[in-house]
């Protein structure tokens, strides 16, 4: 990924509301704008429909969310490819196993399931 692409991704991710939207799509991929508003309300996040729509546009421009038209509906999909490309830029192949082990250990310890 070139730096223009990376800039768009980092800018899009530098906002808690937009990260929350990605979390919602991770939990359920392919939601409509209405569906997302309902999901957010259910998880106790206050965001106006207008704000959700604006944030989605930023995420789409960064290629982190992909819109798919189906009939009259516009479905939104989480696209992890740009995040993967950023990871690839700084993570060498041989480091992957060790980083995975470290992240598994952190997760186990923080969830209190570690030995």
């Amino acid at each position: 990924m070139d730096d223009t692409g990376a800039d768009a991704v980092f800018k899009a991710l530098a906002d808690a509301s937009r990260r929350e939207l990605l979390d919602q799509l991770r939990a359920e991929n392919g939601q409509t704008l209405n569906g997302l508003c309902v999901s957010l309300a259910k998880s106790g996040t206050r965001m106006t429909r207008q704000a959700v729509s604006k944030h989605l546009a930023v995420l789409e421009a960064a290629n982190l969310v992909v819109p798919v038209r189906q009939g009259r509906e516009k479905l939104h999909y989480l696209n992890p490819v740009p995040i993967h490309e950023i990871g690839e830029r700084w993570i060498a192949n041989f480091e992957r196993g060790r980083l995975q082990a470290l992240s598994d250990m952190k997760k186990a310890l923080e969830e209190g399931t570690g030995e």
Partner: protein
Amino acid sequence: MNKPKFVYVTYIRTTPEKLWAALTNPQTIKKYWFGMTVETDFKVGSPWRPKFEDGRAADTGEILESDPPRQLVIRWRNEFKPELKAEGYSRCTMAIEMADYYPDVGGKAVKLTVMHELEGEGAKFIEAVSGGWPKVLSNLKSLLETGDVAFRVEAA
């Protein structure tokens, strides 16, 4: 069309013809798809059978649509994991189009969209394929843009 389970998009600085060739040339596929050998002529109705390097069948399926250099649709089922095979067939669409690449700074690139739909319910299959695609797409992109792949190891 069922509602897609996942949709992946990558922008590649190449031409639609070169991308189509990369998606349909067995020698090229082998390079970005971790040594997988694909036996098919990519004609509508033809069988499609990727095999691992040791010759075991990875998946089986058939070509549903082949519209060079725009769209390739494959119906496929996993062959090597019984619990994934049991979930049945999925439909994978690879669509190629010219697109503005970050329109604010100009420039054109080829947009590759990969979409998977399932004929039935199949959470495990989708989890398995969706994990592999980002690596395969990264490899394909870097092969076309730089002539080399990013990952050589077997997909986890």
